[in-house]
Amino acid sequence: MMPRILDVLPRPVAWVFTSGGGRAAAQVGMAEVLLEQDYRPDLLIGSSFGAINAAALADSQPGHTRLREGWHNLGELSIFSSPGTAAVRGLGPRGNKHVRQFHTLIADLLQADEKTPIPPDVTVVASNLADGSPHPIANGPLVPAVAAACTMPILLPPVQVGGEYLVDGGLSAAAPVRQAARVGAASIVLLDTGTSAVPEHEVLDMRWWQVAALSYNHQIRSQIGYALPAVAEKMPIAVISSDEGSILDFSDPDEQFHVGRRVAATALARDLRNQDLSQPGIHGVLARDRQH
């Protein structure tokens, strides 16, 4: 019997799901481990592909049993199975077919139709293309909100919601902890797949476009470094974090579920033990820091 170390987190407890593209599938494994140990969130906040997991795990959603299957279906969409081709195609006007497929798939995964409202305990975070600010959505239809939150730029065109052009939430709030604080969280469990660090040896013989893509990714993820300490001054943040796999690799969700389960089990058994989780601060280890 594992000691119930997360029970001391002040309520309401928010589970915060970060960005991470294909790597965000690991959050499913992390959440499963928490649910199996009878931990329950009071609030769910997700940015980018973490928004899918946040929405599916809401109390009022039947989605969480379908999450594994949903991630497999995502990986089979052509935009995610060959993102290079999709990016080139995205420059032309033919993106709409993919948008429809993507929306259908999210609706299917969440067992929602176009009118199903966002559950009261869920906030999904997109980015406002006009000024680059985070755009949290807690009201209105669920499917377009989740789709907007995971609108990876270039692969998918911006989504128009309420007169705003919205894109991927990871661009402005890769780890939406500020948004969790704003909707009333008193503590946070961070299910993090958002680091952009890669092993030293990988950068040595990169091609020019890989250098450009990785740097762009760094620029996006650098925000986590600002948001986390600021919120951790006010409340405890328990970190479960993985950086295995690649953001643009949606091909093997089973491997990611497995990684997520392993990382969560280790965090609960080791990194989060012997820390006073009732007190403000960053508890546990971010994958970015573990590597270096």
Binding site: P93, S133, V203, V211, G225
Partner: protein
């Protein structure tokens, strides 16, 4: 492939350049005063206007830190605090795309299997022609420059050893110019981690910060086509990062954000640079006069800005200190 040579005027004494009584600002700022110079490619020219306005005050930096184009402006003044502003005006007036990628860009193209599309020969020659010092410790004012560690994505601050590799690393536009190895790390342009390095300045012990920004790029039309989205995203990402740097620094020390024009061109658009610089000079001169009129005591932590600037909506109101006219 070769960059044309830049004419750099000789150093002159500060006294020869001073214009009447200097504006008394030093007494307002807790020491040490750090100048923070943001990157922005060709828009770095506006920093000449900012530095010119600052040179008419009694303020002298105790330390300077710059990223990318801000590192170029910064190093010229750190080497020659007396007449560096004058030299910068000459340098920015002559700078052109060919100083970054050479006068025959086709010849500078690498094959596409390399870590960058261009070689950095041209920009290296340009840097060598404007910087006389070889090592950081030779500079008159302590100076640091910021690049991004390509593996970790974290800012990498350099303040000792050879200058040129550090400056090249700070300006290594990812994909276009090759990453540079310094301190055993592979580095790219500081824009990816700290384009406006205010937090690194606080970490280096700044008592107050004067920010020399590079102005805002005009954002262009909103739309769903990839081309419009890419332009917006680049601007948005740097705006978010900039806001974070300013917010975090301003919660710890007074941060003076000198005003810069909106609606400037892109980062390799050297066309209108000098007119932007002179507009910046007048804006900043007015702003500094207002600051001296309004403030009597040492400034407390917060972001001191011109009212109505683009920070007004984006930064938490309890940190904003509008400098009214």
């Amino acid at each position: 492939m070769q960059a044309p040579r830049i004419y750099v005027p000789p150093a002159r004494s500060a006294a020869a350049l001073s214009l009447g009584a200097a504006l008394p600002i030093t007494k307002l700022l807790p020491e040490p005063v750090h100048f923070v110079l943001a990157g922005g490619g060709s828009r770095g020219a506006v920093q000449w206007g900012l530095l010119q306005a600052l040179s008419e005050t009694d303020l002298r930096p105790d330390s300077m830190i710059g990223t990318s184009a801000g590192a170029l402006s910064g190093v010229v003044v750190a080497e020659d605090p007396g007449s560096g502003m004058n030299r910068l005006a000459y340098i920015w007036a002559q700078l052109d795309t060919k100083f970054v990628i050479g006068d025959n860009w086709l010849a500078s193209l690498t094959n596409a299997r390399e870590s960058a599309l261009m070689e950095n020969t041209a920009i290296k020659e340009t840097l060598e022609s404007v910087v006389g010092a070889h090592e950081f410790h030779e500079l008159a004012v302590p100076f640091a420059t910021v690049a991004t560690d390509l593996a970790t994505g974290l800012p990498h601050v350099m303040d000792s050893g050879p200058l040129i590799p550090a400056l090249l690393a700070s300006s290594a536009i990812p994909g276009l110019l090759p990453p540079v190895e310094v301190d055993g790390r592979l580095l790219v342009d500081g824009l990816a981690s700290a384009n406006l390095p205010a937090i690194p300045a606080v970490e280096r012990g700044a008592g107050s910060i004067v920010v020399l920004d590079t102005g805002a790029r005009s954002l262009g039309e909103l739309g769903t086509s990839s081309r419009k989205v890419i332009a917006r995203l680049a601007a948005s990402l740097s705006a978010v990062q900039r806001r974070n740097q300013l917010t975090q620094a301003a919660s710890e020390v007074p941060v003076i954000l000198l005003p810069t024009p909106d609606n400037l061109g892109g980062t390799l658009d050297f066309g209108a640079t000098m007119s932007a610089a002179s507009e910046t000079y007048s804006m900043t001169r007015e702003f500094l006069l207002d600051l001296v009129r309004n403030e009597r005591r040492k400034l407390t932590p917060g972001l001191y800005v011109r009212p109505g600037s683009r920070e007004s909506d984006a930064i938490s109101p309890d940190l904003l200190r509008p400098v009214t006219t």
